[in-house]
Symmetry: C2
Subunit: 409 residues, 2 copies
């Protein structure tokens, strides 16, 4: 208070200030949920966790042992492994994409890819086209740049509304990029029908903006043969983001970008500023693992078992919640999107659900604007049949509690 060295009329600060943006930033709904969901006995459908019981821990341990015995430089700094990039390029064939290792850039999971691409493509205050519900990890990387956001409807069945994108473009909107998932969108699990995919890509080409395609769940399809990734329709205008998190293991933090040369050229500098390089041990161990364990076989196991767990959840939802909520059967991915009557509040339901011992993510955190409070997201892969059944039963009890509370008001 005795500080006479300043003309500020505020009280003497207790500490140094943070940047303007940091001061405004808030803890994400996912962080809050991570804390809550670790409570003992709680059944959590909240986070997008792959099935831990299906991780190939034994085979992966052998791969780590092999690379550490072979060369101590498995623990050294190292640029992205050429072997790994070549493997990823081959894997992309399964998504209908033709590329080679020079088109692939390795990142610390797909989250880092989204972080780097946002910096690379978006100027502060620039325009973006997004689906009306968006993966919160994308939101967190664009928010500091305060973009002008144009949202288009998306649906749990057919994904983004391509007509609505075209209408925006006709109005003159010119985005720095369009971000979406064509396959198993997070949170709704929508899948763009095969015959609309090329049309969507041509809109980017003809209006000269890049499409950032987040394909985190693109290998996890259950209903029919996989639909080709958007990238398969255009090398120049689609930037593909992929990850081993959902098809091998998240804890490795290995993802990738397939992009045109002028994007690839800029990524190393941005990546180096972020974390220097991607965990060498993960990169080398993934290569060693893949050399003796075909990923196709592991993905086939995941598809079969995830589809089975999905069906267990569908049966439980049918039995307990069909009178109060609607949903689409997800044809891919790890999420189910439930919609309640318009006056319903999933945030209030969550409080009651936690008391009953089950967690989910309320839908409101996913909406970019015109927030709707009557939806929620469930994830099924990381639960046994019994846990799925018991969790949905508890959820139905919580809905009963909700109705009782509402009638008492």
């Amino acid at each position: 208070m005795s500080d006479t060295d300043t003309d500020s009329s505020t009280a003497f600060p207790a500490s140094f200030p943070l940047s303007a943006w940091a001061t405004l930033s808030q803890r994400s709904v996912l962080q809050e949920m991570l804390k809550t969901a670790s409570r003992p006995g709680l059944i959590s459908f909240a986070l997008g966790l792959p099935a831990a019981d299906l991780f190939p821990t034994k085979e992966f341990a052998a791969s780590v042992a092999e690379v550490l015995a072979r060369d101590p430089r498995a623990l050294q700094y190292e640029p992205a492994s050429r072997d790994l990039r070549a493997y990823v390029a081959a894997l992309m064939g399964q998504r209908g994409v033709s590329c080679d290792e020079r088109d692939v850039f390795v990142t610390t999971g797909s989250q880092q890819a989204l972080c780097l691409l946002s910096k690379l493509l978006l100027d502060p205050g620039g325009d973006l086209i997004l689906e009306e519900t968006v993966y919160p990890g994308l939101r967190s990387v664009i928010e500091p740049l305060r973009p002008r956001i144009w949202t288009v409807p998306t649906s749990p069945r057919d994904g983004i509304d391509v007509d609505a994108i075209e209408a925006l473009l006709k109005r003159g909107v010119r985005p720095s990029f369009l971000y979406l998932s064509a396959e198993a969108q997070n949170p709704m699990a929508g899948r763009i029908p095969a015959d609309r995919r090329e049309r969507l890509v041509r809109l980017g080409e003809s209006h000269r903006f890049p499409v950032v395609e987040d394909d985190a769940y693109g290998f996890l399809t259950y209903e029919d043969s996989a639909r080709p990734a958007l990238r398969s329709f255009s090398d120049g205008w689609v930037i593909y983001v992929g990850t081993f998190s959902k098809i091998l293991a998240p804890a490795l933090r290995v993802g990738w970008v397939v992009a045109p040369p002028h994007v690839l050229e800029k990524l190393p500098t941005l990546k180096e500023a972020g974390d220097i390089d991607t965990v060498t041990l993960s990169q080398r161990a993934v290569c060693a693992f893949l050399a003796s364990n075909p990923l196709e076989t592991h993905i086939a196991v995941l598809r079969r078992e995830y589809r089975r767990r999905r069906d267990v959840m569908m049966q439980a939802l049918d039995a307990h919640l069909s009178s109060v909520a609607t949903w689409s059967v997800p044809g891919a991915g790890i999420f189910v999107w439930l919609e309640f009557p318009p006056d319903f509040d999933a945030g209030r339901l969550l409080t009651l659900a936690l008391a009953r011992g089950v967690a989910f993510l309320p839908g409101q955190g996913f909406f970019m604007e015109r927030e709707r409070r009557n939806c929620l997201r469930l994830s099924f892969p990381n639960c046994s049949d019994e846990v799925i059944q018991e969790g949905v039963r508890r959820l139905a009890l919580a809905v009963g509690d909700y109705r009782a509370h509402s009638e008492l008001r």
Copy 2:
């Protein structure tokens, strides 16, 4: 060329534009060097690599096997391990810092810590105080924010000039933060004398700006007992950045921040946007490794062996380069800073040195302003005695070539 939809007079764009900042960004000198330095037969003193032959690969492989056998969730998403944070808090005691696990935030190496802290503390165009030579990784994270930079002299013996900081503050400079290394500064290897450290911290306190202390090499001291970290003098005004990269292995990508509560509160949101979480397998394996392999013992091995390699380099420099260059014997860290006569150009020398089969980093890339071209940085830990001797011999030959070239002009 037939595009009539725009009033731009430029040719029809071949592809979409990048953000203004990305367009200006250039590949870093380290990236260029990484490419060059991998040439077969080349002796490289260029990069700051720890000694690969001293990595505890066998013990670490056992730790990875243990954590994978114990729990498949070693491959799952996971918030920062409490055990690891508690270990780091205990380790900080060796740097004279008293803290507990609630004060520690785990990052993907110290590079991510610098990236997150810059976003957290610095508004676009804000003021910064830096040493005249700076770690390029810090430069790459602050450049997008276009700060106003105030540099102060630093020396290969005594580190940053505390009087010069005080003079800047007297002129009214109020930085968002001061970044420095008190111990074994990169690139010069300077160490702030023990009796000036507290005074420096008090300048931050009294002028109300945080000191970001990068202590990457703080555990690697050779001459006397370690001098206390700046953080030991102030919990509220010093943010400490540490890493396992130089005392265990870089490929794990595990670093940490020790910071005041209002900084710690904001870090999880920023971290999540960057890469969700730090490699679970690394975190768990580091904990398992440390439970059966005291880090103190490993650090003692590193100190002893690095000091020996440093002395081999000193002898070789004395024998071959004492007539043309000067240097200080580094009392800590992994670098030697050579200074040639003022008209010397280390960039030109590098070209000749590469032809002779030896690489180093020219000093110019480290200067924030008033670039000097007559210095270079050598790193010694990742080389055998013979390689150090042969490399310095080649460097001396290159200096001879340089002089012959200069005389011919």
